[in-house]
């Protein structure tokens, strides 16, 4: 999958590229509006990661360009502004999703995957990891074809793990993914442990393997 990263901060751009390339994305970086416009005219991308504030213009400008040129791509906006007007402006302008700085890389990846599942015809609604099978349309999880009795949050957590498999997910990243801004200012993320314990128990009860491993001091990893 090809992605155009439009972000003027090269360090951030490099971080995103590093993470996504390991997830088998083909990444191209653009550092300004003109640069991005040129690349969008010449090549096709599955995804465009769009920073709102660019040195030579506004991200929204580029968004309008994408729409008027009828370029087909999943657009994820990155903005330093967390409040709504930008979000609404961006989404009305044709962006598919929105993520605020400072974001977690696994979160960014999960959002891209979710967008792809939603928007692309090739995108499958079934995600599998060995014996575990998730249907993102019906929000059902099966282990060895046995339906798990899990809450939507647990489903979300499992999906997050599988999308970011073999990656260390910090408790903060998990909390932010599941509860968004509600976890702001929470200093204690011990509740994640509880959550994961429940999920493990349910998978084990259905005869699944325990793929979730604790990485000391850092968080958890879904290791296949």
């Amino acid at each position: 999958m090809k992605i155009l990263i439009v972000e003027d901060n090269s360090a951030l751009s490099a971080s995103v590229r590093d993470y996504l390339e390991a997830e088998h994305f083909i990444c191209t970086c653009a550092f300004g509006v003109d640069d991005a416009r040129e690349k969008l005219s010449l090549f096709t991308y599955d995804f465009v990661l769009l920073d709102m504030m660019l040195p030579d213009g506004d991200g929204l400008e580029l968004l309008r360009f994408i729409k008027t040129e009828k370029i087909i791509a999943n657009i994820l906006i990155i903005s330093a502004r967390d409040a709504l007007d930008d979000k609404i402006k961006g989404l009305e302008g044709g962006a598919d999703d929105y993520i605020t700085k400072p974001f977690h890389l696994p979160e960014l990846h999960a959002r891209l995957r979710a967008m792809y599942r939603r928007n692309s015809l090739q995108g499958s609604h079934i995600i599998t990891a060995n014996e575990i099978e998730l249907n993102t349309n019906t929000i059902e999880a099966r282990v060895h074809a046995v339906l798990l009795d899990i809450t939507p949050k647990e489903f979300d957590l499992l999906l997050y793990f599988i999308v970011n498999k073999d990656r260390v997910l910090s408790r903060q990243a998990i909390a932010t993914h599941l509860w968004g801004d509600y976890t702001d200012n929470l200093a204690n993320f011990d509740f994640i442990y509880q959550h994961i314990k429940n999920l493990r128990k349910k998978i084990a009860a259905a005869g699944g393997n325990d793929y979730i491993e604790t990485v000391y001091g850092l968080g958890y990893r879904f290791k296949l």
């Binding site: 901060n9 360090a11 951030l12 971080s15 995103v16 590093d18 993470y19 390991a22 504030m53 330093a80 502004r81 967390d82 409040a83 709504l84 007007d85 605020t100 700085k101 400072p102 974001f103 977690h104 890389l105 696994p106 990656r167 260390v168 910090s170 903060q172 990243a173 509860w179 801004d181 509600y182 702001d184 200012n185 929470l186 200093a187 204690n188 011990d190 509740f191 509880q194 990485v215 000391y216 001091g217 850092l218 968080g219």
Partner: protein, 442 residues
């Protein structure tokens, strides 16, 4: 003391001093004039007698009805001629003593020195001093009354522009984008004052806008470096690390989150101060509150805190939906954070107020400081101390009031949606231990 009263008082003091002095001067003047006039009259009478004597005509006719004595004096004419003698004298049938004035003139006529003495009684000038004194008192009384009344009326007219200016300043809010416009008056001093105040407030507003813009921009600019830091530490966690390194990274990540939360909160505060949110729209507050409560009930449960709520339905409140969410979330988070193991949280929502009470140890800082930025109820190193500041700011923007009280081992935060309800509540005499702090809108 009012300025006009001060001026009136000064004026009255001056009148009280000057009027008696002028009275004394005029009294002395009148007295002198009276005597002078009388002396002159008696002298002319004497002269007339002398001329009659000189001409050798009989004087009996002339002096019959007058009190004139004619005598011959041996020796020369005295050095002082005429001699004036004043002495108070009693006239028969008169109660008050009168002033007797004797004027003796010496005329050397045909070798003989005649002494012609005429005298007259007239009212002692000291007698009419008392009536002058009464007039003086009346005068002072009337002038004082006139000064006081006219001062009242004048102050109302003259000080009207000043009062208008003061009223305008009272209603001036630096957070609102309206500049101060003052009416011109016909008094130069007031115009100068108005010009000065307008310039000053405009400058203050400019400075405030710059500061606000700066804090908002700075907070935004911080997000990108924070994103870099966060993503770099995340990439670092994907490498193989020993437990010591992992611990270090975790600390870094926690602090990055904290920094990010602070900047996000500061941006929100700045935007609230900027009145960037539309709070006119009525939204279903009960639904948002329920959602938030349910979300937080999960975390409360982990701390073994029981959450009960009594939320009415169909409660529509004028507030921006996101602000409603933040308002309830911040209060809920607070209620969980400053709670104890196996504690309680009770939430109540009616059309008039949203109240959240929770068990917990009393706060160590003064209640009024709770809503200030970066003030924390306890030094437990959680949170950044902006949650309640945001709550207060949201309430200000939406014209709500927020109060805090600690009653019977419970923290109670209450947001009043309408002021009339709050004023009704104030009518009820409250328990003395009920320490309530209400924050008015700015």
């Amino acid at each position: 003391m009012k300025l006009i009263n001060k001026i009136s008082l000064w004026f009255l003091c001056i009148i009280l001093v000057i009027t008696p002095v002028t009275m004394a001067i005029s009294h002395a003047g009148i007295k002198r004039k009276m005597i002078e006039f009388e002396v002159r009259r008696l002298l002319s009478v004497n002269d007339r007698v002398a001329s009659l004597l000189q001409e050798g005509r009989p004087v009996d006719d002339f002096i019959r009805d007058r009190e004139i004595e004619i005598a011959t004096v041996r020796g020369p004419v005295p050095a002082t001629n005429p001699q004036v003698i004043k002495r108070p004298g009693k006239v028969e049938g008169m109660r008050e003593q009168e002033l007797a004035l004797f004027v003796a003139s010496y005329y050397p006529l045909n070798g003989i020195v005649y002494k012609v003495t005429s005298h007259n009684y007239f009212i002692n000038p000291n007698e009419f001093f008392s009536s002058m004194f009464i007039t003086l008192l009346w005068k002072m009384l009337l002038v004082s009354i006139a000064v006081l009344i006219s001062a009242r009326i004048l102050s109302r007219i003259l000080f009207r522009p000043f009062k208008n200016t003061m009223e305008a300043i009272r209603h001036f809010n630096i957070r609102q984008k309206q500049t101060l416009q003052l009416k011109r008056s016909s008094t130069r001093e007031f115009n100068e004052l108005n010009c000065f105040i307008e310039t000053m407030t405009n400058k203050a507003m400019e400075e405030y806008a710059t500061a606000r813009e700066f804090s908002e921009n700075a907070s935004h600019e911080l997000q990108t470096p924070l994103a870099v830091l966060r993503t770099k530490t995340e990439l670092l966690t994907q490498t193989s690390l020993d437990s010591q390194q992992a611990g270090l990274i975790e600390h870094m990540q926690t602090e990055i989150s904290k920094l990010s939360n602070i900047t996000k909160s500061l941006v929100l505060l700045a935007r609230l101060e900027n009145q960037e949110f539309n709070t006119r729209e009525k939204i279903k507050f009960c639904r948002i509150a329920k959602n938030v409560i349910e979300t937080y009930a999960y975390w409360a449960d982990l701390k073994n805190i029981t959450v009960t709520h009594n939320t009415g339905s169909q409660i529509f409140i004028s507030i921006h939906p996101v602000l409603a969410d933040i308002l309830v979330a911040n209060l809920m988070r607070n209620a969980i954070r400053y709670n104890e193991e196996n504690g309680l949280i009770h939430v109540e929502l009616t059309a008039d107020y949203f109240r959240i009470s929770n068990t917990g140890a009393p706060v160590t800082i003064p209640h009024k400081d709770l809503f200030r930025r970066f003030k924390k109820g306890s030094q437990k190193n959680e949170g950044v101390g902006l949650g309640l500041a945001i709550v207060k700011q949201i309430c200000e923007v939406c014209n709500f009031r927020v109060s805090y009280a600690y009653v019977e081992h419970r923290h109670i935060f209450c947001v009043y949606f309408n002021e009339s309800y709050l004023s009704e509540l104030d009518m009820i005499p409250s328990n003395s231990s009920f320490q309530r702090v209400v924050f008015a809108e700015a």
